[in-house]
Point group: D2
Chain length 364, copies 4
Amino acid sequence: MVKKAGVLGATGSVGQRFILLLSQHPDFEIHALGASSRSAGKAYKDAVNWKQTDVLPASVQGVVVQECKPEGSFKECDIVFSGLDADVAGEVEKAFVDAGLAVISNAKNYRRHKEVPLVVPIVNPEHIDIVESKVKKAKAEGKEKTGFIICISNCSTAGLVAPLKPLVEKFGPIDALTTTTLQAISGAGFSPGVSGMDILDNIVPFISGEEEKLEWETKKILGTLNEDGTEVVNIPEEKMKVSAQCNRVPVIDGHTECISFRFANRPPPSTEDVKRTLSDYVCEASKLHCHSAPKQTIHVLEEQDRPQPRLDRERDNGFGVSVGRIRQDSLLDFKMVVLSHNTIIGAAGSGILIAEILSAKGLI
Amino acid sequence: MVKKAGVLGATGSVGQRFILLLSQHPDFEIHALGASSRSAGKAYKDAVNWKQTDVLPASVQGVVVQECKPEGSFKECDIVFSGLDADVAGEVEKAFVDAGLAVISNAKNYRRHKEVPLVVPIVNPEHIDIVESKVKKAKAEGKEKTGFIICISNCSTAGLVAPLKPLVEKFGPIDALTTTTLQAISGAGFSPGVSGMDILDNIVPFISGEEEKLEWETKKILGTLNEDGTEVVNIPEEKMKVSAQCNRVPVIDGHTECISFRFANRPPPSTEDVKRTLSDYVCEASKLHCHSAPKQTIHVLEEQDRPQPRLDRERDNGFGVSVGRIRQDSLLDFKMVVLSHNTIIGAAGSGILIAEILSAKGLI
Amino acid sequence: MVKKAGVLGATGSVGQRFILLLSQHPDFEIHALGASSRSAGKAYKDAVNWKQTDVLPASVQGVVVQECKPEGSFKECDIVFSGLDADVAGEVEKAFVDAGLAVISNAKNYRRHKEVPLVVPIVNPEHIDIVESKVKKAKAEGKEKTGFIICISNCSTAGLVAPLKPLVEKFGPIDALTTTTLQAISGAGFSPGVSGMDILDNIVPFISGEEEKLEWETKKILGTLNEDGTEVVNIPEEKMKVSAQCNRVPVIDGHTECISFRFANRPPPSTEDVKRTLSDYVCEASKLHCHSAPKQTIHVLEEQDRPQPRLDRERDNGFGVSVGRIRQDSLLDFKMVVLSHNTIIGAAGSGILIAEILSAKGLI
Amino acid sequence: MVKKAGVLGATGSVGQRFILLLSQHPDFEIHALGASSRSAGKAYKDAVNWKQTDVLPASVQGVVVQECKPEGSFKECDIVFSGLDADVAGEVEKAFVDAGLAVISNAKNYRRHKEVPLVVPIVNPEHIDIVESKVKKAKAEGKEKTGFIICISNCSTAGLVAPLKPLVEKFGPIDALTTTTLQAISGAGFSPGVSGMDILDNIVPFISGEEEKLEWETKKILGTLNEDGTEVVNIPEEKMKVSAQCNRVPVIDGHTECISFRFANRPPPSTEDVKRTLSDYVCEASKLHCHSAPKQTIHVLEEQDRPQPRLDRERDNGFGVSVGRIRQDSLLDFKMVVLSHNTIIGAAGSGILIAEILSAKGLI
């Protein structure tokens, strides 16, 4: 059965991506769109400055935008995707959850809450079990509807943890990790986003808050649930040192990360072991036959000059992650280049795939 | 007295830079230009596809290009700058040295020879002492002319070692170092250089041979001379681990490097100590009042989003190096962003400044 | 029945596009690949430096590349697409035609031959009648196989003539036309193509031979067949003045053209008439239900800042053409902005669509 | 004697350019800086987000920013440069003129006032005579100070009219003119200016109000003064048809214009005549030996692929204009490519040069 989907922050760059993905999706239909009061009451096509490379879907053009309140058609939604900015997301999303709605948010506000799963769907869908426990408990208590929130990770975190997960599963903990990112400008949205004067023939070696997010979120996403499955327990600081240096580069889509890392266990695996483990990894979403799940979760590229954002970002429709130049490192154990599509697996696409997992598990 | 300068590889991108810098230089005059036999015999303006942002200097337009042989006006040169490609540089430069000429080369061919100084003039001019010994010895033996060669370092190495030198001088050895580079395309020349299709909206996470150069040359440039001053002794592998990851980015000029490093001595200096040491550093070329020496060798930038190539590459006419975002690192001791102008301090400009030092020391 | 397709120049940029489009095509299968003797004998994946944003299709990876001779599996092809460079296309294509093969060429060599149709499939498929006559005549003479060649137009010509055709059909001849083009770099191929140093933060206001092609080809494509349907008769010089100024710009795909034009008939149509005529235009390929034919041949965009290459080039998979800013001109009658995908409707895609028309007409 | 200069809108992009040029100028000193009330009271270095490629001049760093009112040190200024946005420029500039100050404005507000000269200093300095008349009249009336305003033209207009002026002087009126512009993003400022998402791998074929400005201003700048020298009389619409199509392109600095034009007089001059006339043109500012006047007003480039913005925009420090590809046009008489530095001769630089002319004429 097709699920009813709502989108908060529908006119923004993440919201537009949600809408584009949903409009082409067999399992969801767009049922409610929310934006600021300035847009409320307008047909979506009149409220939005559509900036996607695909044309604004005809089916969405006439949908009347509402305010971001858990009212009207939003109340009928099976799932609500939030592309809201952090300054308003906290309050709005809370109101939706309190109203019994299932919310998947791209905002950072609740990412650090222990009881909120921070999910990269090709990496740690098992953290969704927190929600499962909560829903079951509520049902047991006779509640009909249980609101909850699941957070999508930061875009550069998603790309980083994708190859780490299978390696940690197979070879044990990684205790040291560096990443220097070369991040696309679409991650900053487009109003105003990154100024052309700042990025043409230039690099900006700073993205506000990004390094802290990368360093912190990695330890939550690779962390485990507590015994009763109600909270995420991060990997402790002393067990995993993560050091990030983030740059904005003149690329439209696709975050490139040059990473190096060390396993806690000695001796480390061979380069061939690492490659095979990455190639063999099948994420749970793929096993569940989710619609958007990548056919190949991690693409191991053997060409010496790949991955490249323009050539490799669209692999598996942006849901796959590409890894290349896997080689030994003189300082830590390995270094390699990771490429992920920042607005798909790094943002809206992850939200959609999380919803597919929720649906497959009967949680929405 | 104005010195007579020759340029080998005069029509190439490094050669053009040499010519531009020399044409505006008070201490040198262009006396001989060498290029392939295809160009020989032509006026320079007819032989070259001039691609500099400054106009081709009138004084050079009519100079007749010769073949790259130590004959004719080349024999009268006080100094010869080589911008030759590696495939021909080895043989040609040897012939010039054998003919008693002083050669400063941007090619990689002789960089690893122990008795050839590999010099970043704002970093290790003391390695030129090898030449001084050689010249003195030859004079003592009654020889009138002594040929020698000094190599300019790889462009990304120059930027890297500039801030390391004063830190090592002050705080002792660095035993671990990582650098992820974001390198401008001018480093690859322009015929063909980096293809537009490869670099627009893209990153190429590989530059052939670059990581090896960075890792090796750093240990030579920061190395010392042997007892009798005739050879460079590299820092041993086991004393300094250097790990590089090199990327080509859509930037015209200016290499950005995100580096992290650890001092061998415990405890490491404070962040303030590091900043002050970098700011206070005055390179020897400045003390010698060389014409091109930077007023400020290392610019420590406090703005959180600097240095940026487009805004900072021209500091001190491209002879200064900019360092920003100096901060502690959770894995090693410090991380920071280094920016250097790859075609000036990273290539031709270094050659000119080396020649100025040679002149100041009476070696040419 | 699926047709057997051959591709000449299979490793080049146009050849790669042919292969990509054919590999996803229901009506064609790749049967023979030809390239230089350097590539001949290798599996395609080993011969090519694949630079498409879609992955090299698995079905093509193992195909063994042949030399470009009408032998072996090429002789079994129903249709041969040529992406050869002009320096070899003339001879090779002639050999294929002489061997009785049907050739669709992207090279310029035969474009000016009167008996060779120069076809933009959404514009002048009626010129294919020349081939129909020839094939019928040959059959009548008892020949089993008839070789022929059809030329694809220059990329910037294709975009230009697309909106002109319906206007001329409806409102009569255009007697004056100016176009200033802003052309993407993919049109120049990638080996070497346009150098990054030439195009980053830059415009190159010259493309060799391009203005002449635009001015000449327009008059052939909009021309008519002679009485017996064996030759194309160009619009005479004195009946249509075309003036082109061509620029290369830092855009990957998508040629933008700022055009202005005047109708011969007075009074000219209204702006609304022009818009409606363009919107209503249905190309013959669409009427024939060709697989690649655009759903909407010409997209009339009303937003004041469109079309834009990054946002609009993929409309109808690159087979549609976008037109915006249609407005009256103080000098001629109208000015407007035309955008077309230079490697699809401007090159390989046109070849495929021509083949679909040939197939629909029973000519292959 | 060094003149005291004030700058209105000192923190904006045009204001920064004024400050940079003034700080290096022998004839002016920065005496007053004005910005919004948010910046007033701060040292300039704390008020500005300095985005120039030259370092913020030390001499300006500590200057305390004032509000934009004709008070305090502004009253002591010999000349006031306005880089204000149009929404506030009208009122502020009027207040300054009313207070008896000489204002040179980059804003559009007064450009269409008949009694306000609209000046490209290398083109129509004779329009400054309006001010001379006014000042003399005021002096005759015993007034000590006479406020006046001179407007700088729109950036793309400046480049266009530069080569037209000498041609019109020599060969008589131009009655038809088309220009398609490829405009750099620095013209839009940087806060927010053109978004990176809008301009990377893209063209925006629309700049609000730009085409109207180009078409109108050209006729004023090439116009004449009325009999009593108090007003500018535009070239009448019917005497000169100007048609512009304006595009924003991914270039930092330098507007490229592809123009074509027709002389009213028959027969038109030869291509050689046109080239020689452009090369021979010496603007009045050069004759007056103004400090910033170009050595060569118009550079006629013979290379077939020039001018290019990255290579040619800095000619004569951005005060010269480059013209290339001069050739006959099949529709009008000639077509050619014009390149001008939009933030120098197209904006702040023009303001400085106008002030130099005023000074040379004893008007300030």
